[in-house]
Amino acid sequence: MDWTRKDLLDLQSLSAEEILTVLDTARQFKAVGERKIKKVPALRGKTVVNLFVEPSTRTRISFELAEQRLSADCINFTAEASSLRKGETLADTARNLEALNADFIVIRHKAAGAPHLLGRVLNAHVVNAGDGAHEHPTQGLLDLFTIREKKGSFEGLRVTILGDILYSRVARSDIWGLQKLGARVTLCGPPTLVPPVFTELGCRVTPRLEEAIADADVINLLRIQHERQRKGMFPGLGEYTSLFGINQERLRMTKPDAIIMHPGPINRGVEVDSEVADGERSVILEQVTNGLAIRMAVLYLLNGGHVPPAEVN
């Protein structure tokens, strides 16, 4: 199918078909990354602004590399949300960037809905690189891409997301994407971080780890988000690890072909111990590689690229 959206703001509003279109396109770009010459001219002459109003290293670098490999010109604009608020509003900042003829704005912001605000006021394409605890659509897409590579299809697949769901934008993007493609999602963690309201989003919610991982085909471990959390959600990291940390012993309770995912950065010894993170069931680094392909595919499609991408073949 042809891509018709101006922006990529969330996975909740995408159709299964649109999601598959991105995944199919990303497959082509992943192949590009394995070539000697890793650059294609798809976005030559286009300008991308990486507007990171919340600190990020990994996602920004992934986007930056994706832009460079598509031959786009990119600039990085990093600002603390607070200083932006004292001066001009986010919409004004973005309008200024658009006045410099930016074609794409990739935005990371700690306020949920900030990319939606930009999408409404700008003609430029807006890509959500994570908005508060709302969504992180490219992370969701790369998780889907990775699962598809490993498991083939989503129908009937059981995916367990473990940890800090309440403050996780990754969890929300994963939940929507997985459900749209036919997978069943279980959320597990202490009720302070995984409140029962998530059952209304169609998920199974349980605080019992054994139950959550026993039948899972995919276990996605989320980082404990120190920065987004209020105090008192759980007594401490030690207790969290003892209740929910994935170690070798717990890994043995899972299906033998269950894979371990993590959006990074991992806290070794907290949500996952080193043996598991570095073990053969872990696909954590493949996620990083796939993220680059996903971000290339997203920019390519938003730019009006066709499927399959002719230039890259």
Binding site: Q12, A112, G113, R169, R172, L201
Partner: protein, 543 residues
């Protein structure tokens, strides 16, 4: 045509507080430009465009005192007026009958059948053609933003919005800059209102200095200055011992204490109802229990002190239940409902598509989805405090209004500038305007959809607030009462639009909504301070 428009300007100048707030947007004021140009009132632009043969006027009713160039709006001046051919609804006396209402020298002289035939021929006469005439509506929860925040609203513009909404009396909240915590500020507002307001502006004083919730404000001095209620609205006293003292102290003056019920430790940084949609949108939750904890506290303290406590803008089912139980026990505690809480739900924050599909089907059962108003997710015009809650909560608030547990409907009219609201949802200020849509939404949600009798509904705008505030001569059409009257057309279909608001701010979620019913004339002390074009002319009395 040109004549009409320039006339309008004059009226506005006289009405809304001086020429400095009325400027022609573009250069010289030639007549040709006047007819089709744009007008700026307090920074807002009005299109002086025509629609059919009639000019679309920013303030169509502000020239009630005569015709032609000499006509100027003046403050209500204890006039006489006969409202003929009315459906009189007076909740204070349980009356719903056809008849006429006679106001002499600013006071109600008589209301009932056959009054017109005995009225003095010298009195001007307005035939209301069978429309409802009721005691002037009262809104006891309005933010006029002055002193200090006149970019959002002024006493003049807010009061004009009240007149358009059918309100003859409003109570302004003290969370201004500086806050209304001294008799000097109370008098300042009263003076400004005297100059600028077409309606009665009553003042609520702060409970604590700077609304900081720490030291008592000079309540006695403000009582002498004429405050009608006390509140730290926008803030909530967290210290229970202080709240107890405040209630004890203010009871000496018989002043009701109106409380914005919000437990800060429970609510923290919540920006929307804690529920399904906060989970979906990743926004911080403002749990219903954050309101209910304070409602429960207020019940206990009202019981202990015997003071009159009024819980503002009740939003949750639990709050309504707590109030119902307490009232049944005889505790002197009341509650109010806001139209946004009994019309919208938290689904609206996820965008119009979600709202109309999940929670909005009962609002417009007869409209097709494609003709319903649309808005995006994270629209900050759906951010208010307390927040929009679940459909179950909305149902409980509606039921509370119907059975009288919530005896007052109020707008919580909270204007904010566009630049303040057009930001990320987390950073936008809480609040929406509401004076001009309040009556229509109440008629639609309570009368049309739920069959609440008009007389009971109008009680929430008249006897409810008048009784709470102890306003003698208001909220009733008894002989000798103030000649404050609202004329309502409960059938009139209309749309709220930006050009049609008198408020200085535009932060309403209800633009473009098909509305049913509105005030068509607002009369203060016998003076028509606002009327729309649907009524006939006022026929002057013969000398």
């Amino acid at each position: 045509m040109h004549e009409q428009v320039s006339y309008e300007v004059e009226a506005c100048v006289n009405f809304c507080g001086g020429s400095e707030i009325l400027k022609h947007a573009g250069g010289p004021t030639r007549d040709s430009e006047l007819a089709g140009g744009e007008w700026r009132l307090g920074g807002r632009r009005f299109a002086g465009r025509t629609s059919g043969s009639q000019a679309v006027r920013p303030f169509p009713g502000f020239f009630a005192r005569g015709r032609g160039r000499q006509a100027v709006y003046a403050r209500p001046q204890m006039s006489s007026l006969l409202l003929a051919n009315a459906r009189i609804i007076d909740p204070s006396r349980g009356i719903d009958q056809t008849g006429d209402v006679l106001i002499l020298d600013g006071k109600v002289a008589d209301a009932g059948p056959g009054v017109a035939s005995n009225a003095p021929k010298t009195v001007s006469r307005l035939d209301v053609g069978g429309r409802i005439v009721c005691p002037g509506l009262i809104d006891l929860h309005v933010h006029l933003r002055e002193p200090g925040q006149s970019a959002k609203e002024t006493i003049g513009t807010g009061a004009c919005a009240a007149a358009r909404g059918g309100f003859t009396t409003i109570v302004c909240m003290p969370n201004t800059s500086p806050s209304v915590d001294s008799p000097g500020t109370v008098r300042w507002i009263q003076d400004r209102a005297r100059d600028e307001s077409p309606v009665n502006v009553l003042v609520a004083g702060a409970l604590t200095k700077d609304i900081a919730g720490e030291d008592l404000a000079p309540i006695g001095a403000m009582h002498k200055a004429g405050v009608v209620a006390l509140t730290d609205d926008g803030r909530c006293i967290q210290n229970n011992e202080l709240m107890c003292r405040v209630l004890e102290y203010s009871s000496m003056f018989g002043l009701p204490v109106m409380d914005h019920c919000q437990d800060y430790s429970m609510v923290s940084e919540g920006v929307m109802h804690d529920g399904r949609y906060s989970a979906v949108l990743g926004l911080r939750g403002w749990p219903a229990e954050g309101e209910e904890l304070i409602v429960a506290r207020n019940i206990l303290l009202a019981e202990r002190t015997g003071a009159r406590v009024h819980c503002q803008h009740m939003s949750s089912a639990g709050s309504v239940r707590l109030l119902r139980e307490a009232q049944a026990r005889g505790v002197a505690i009341t509650g109010e409902a806001c139209p946004h809480h009994f019309t919208l739900t938290d689904a609206a924050v996820a965008g119009s598509e979600v709202f109309w599909r999940e929670d909005g089907t009962a609002v417009y059962p007869e409209l097709r989805p494609s003709s319903l108003p649309q808005w995006p997710a994270f629209d900050t015009n759906f951010k208010m405090n307390p927040p929009l809650r679940s459909a179950r909560d909305r149902e409980a608030v509606l039921q509370g209004v119907v059975d009288g547990v919530l005896s007052v409907i109020a707008s919580d009219h909270a204007p904010h500038t566009g630049y303040e609201k057009q930001v990320e949802f987390d950073y936008a200020p809480f609040g929406i305007t509401g004076l001009e849509t309040e009556l229509a939404l109440s008629l639609m949600q309570l009368h049309r959809r739920r069959g609440m009798k008009l007389i009971d509904l109008l009680a929430r705008f008249t006897t409810g607030p008048a009784g709470l505030l102890g306003l003698a001569g208001k909220g009733t059409l008894t002989g000798g009462a103030d000649g404050d009257v609202t004329v309502i057309d409960p059938e009139l279909a209309w749309q709220f639009c930006r050009e049609g608001t008198a408020s200085r701010s535009f932060n309403s979620p209800f633009y473009g909504w098909p509305l049913e019913g509105r005030a068509v004339a607002t009369i203060v002390a016998g003076d028509v301070v606002w009327r729309d074009g649907t009524l006939g002319d006022i026929i002057p009395g013969v000398a």
